[in-house]
């Protein structure tokens, strides 16, 4: 498995990478999932969602992906009646935001370890509290800062955007 590209979260006015996939829970709870194309090993889910916490609620405000028929997937593709914003009431769990320098790179899922993890607790789409987990201090000054993926394989696609 390859390290996965995170979701985007707008939190306290800035965009951060989030190592949690609330939309995955939506699909697991019975929400209809379009046929996302898996063109990158670093993006098995086939999309990147943009989330926002506003007035203590978790909202999905954007989606970028590609379907297996070659068309571009947006928020309107999944939720035609809510093309700009929808309340993620189905989600309960902890959003993980890695912060600081990278301590250890693991080329699988979201397993890389960073100096800190900011953990946002969400219950039925409502933000309840935040906590910070300290994982250690980077031993060298030029350790990479912020969440990232080291490498990935790109599957070739044809002119219509379909994987070959």
């Amino acid at each position: 498995m390859t390290a996965q590209i995170g979701e985007k979260l707008i939190y306290q006015g800035r965009e951060v990478a989030m190592c949690t996939e609330p939309l995955g829970d939506y699909f697991a709870l019975g929400g209809e999932s379009p046929d996302f194309a898996m063109n990158y090993t670093a993006l098995w889910r086939g999309y990147v969602g943009t989330w926002e916490i506003m007035e203590n609620r978790l909202y999905l405000i954007g989606l970028s992906g590609r379907l297996n028929d070659g068309t571009q997937a947006t928020l309107a593709t999944l939720f035609p009646d809510y093309p700009e914003r929808l309340f993620a009431h189905w989600y309960s769990g902890t959003l993980r935001i890695p912060e600081g320098k990278r301590l250890e790179y693991c080329h699988a899922g979201y397993s890389s370890i960073y100096e800190r993890d900011r953990l946002l607790k969400i219950e039925h789409g409502v933000f309840t509290h935040t906590s910070v987990r300290e994982n250690g201090k980077a031993s060298y000054a030029d350790a990479p800062e912020g969440y990232g993926v080291g490498a990935m394989t790109v599957f070739p696609v044809n002119a219509e955007g379909k994987r070959r």
């Binding site: 990158y40 990147v48 309960s92 902890t94």
Partner: protein, 181 residues
């Protein structure tokens, strides 16, 4: 012998310079903007990995051509993503019997920004309607809660509603799931 070797390596250089670039360009040009940040390889990935890869490709370029032909004429099928162990509701998970009206009344979701439909289970209303179709005249509807360990060893808390038939527990509708800390 030397002439053959030079020809072999020469063809290897041509193969190495053409085939991978074609594949990479096609893959990358259609999804600009999907990758939210640039991929930053480490120093050894920038130097050592290309040297090793290109050396192997130079020596074993016929394999590269066979691989390219395979990719062109026999493309990948959809890659299966591992699914967790199928969860089923058991008797001990059942909490209380409820009517459809009770469930639907409790499941209305509201939002100050009106970013959810005013229907039972909000954005999951269509899934609820599909589930409700399974409810027969003799069946009963029960709320349930369960802790489940999936095939990866993760413990998950799940809750929702299950249909209980005369033969046992039928289909269920999940309303909440999260990993136990």
């Amino acid at each position: 012998m030397t002439t053959y070797l030079i020809c072999y390596l020469g063809l290897g250089i041509i193969t190495v310079l053409t085939l991978p670039r074609l594949a990479k360009a096609r893959g990358a040009e259609h999804d600009k903007g999907l990758i939210p940040y640039s991929i930053e390889p480490s120093w050894w990935e920038k130097t050592l990995v290309p040297i090793v890869c290109y050396s192997f490709a130079l020596l074993l370029w016929p394999v590269l051509i066979v691989w390219r032909i395979k990719e062109t004429f026999f493309p990948h099928e959809t890659i299966a993503v591992p699914q967790g162990e199928t969860f089923s509701v058991k008797r001990e998970h059942l909490l209380r019997q409820m009517s459809i009206a009770e469930v639907e009344c409790a499941a209305i979701v509201s939002d100050p920004l009106y970013a959810v439909p005013n229907l039972p289970f909000g954005h999951l209303n269509a899934a609820w309607l599909r589930f409700k179709k399974n409810l027969g005249s003799e069946d009963t509807l029960w709320a349930f809660a369960a802790c489940h360990t999936d095939e990866w060893g993760s413990k998950e808390y799940k809750e929702g509603y299950a249909i209980v038939t005369t033969d046992g527990i039928g289909p269920h509708f999940l309303t909440c799931r999260f990993e136990n800390d």
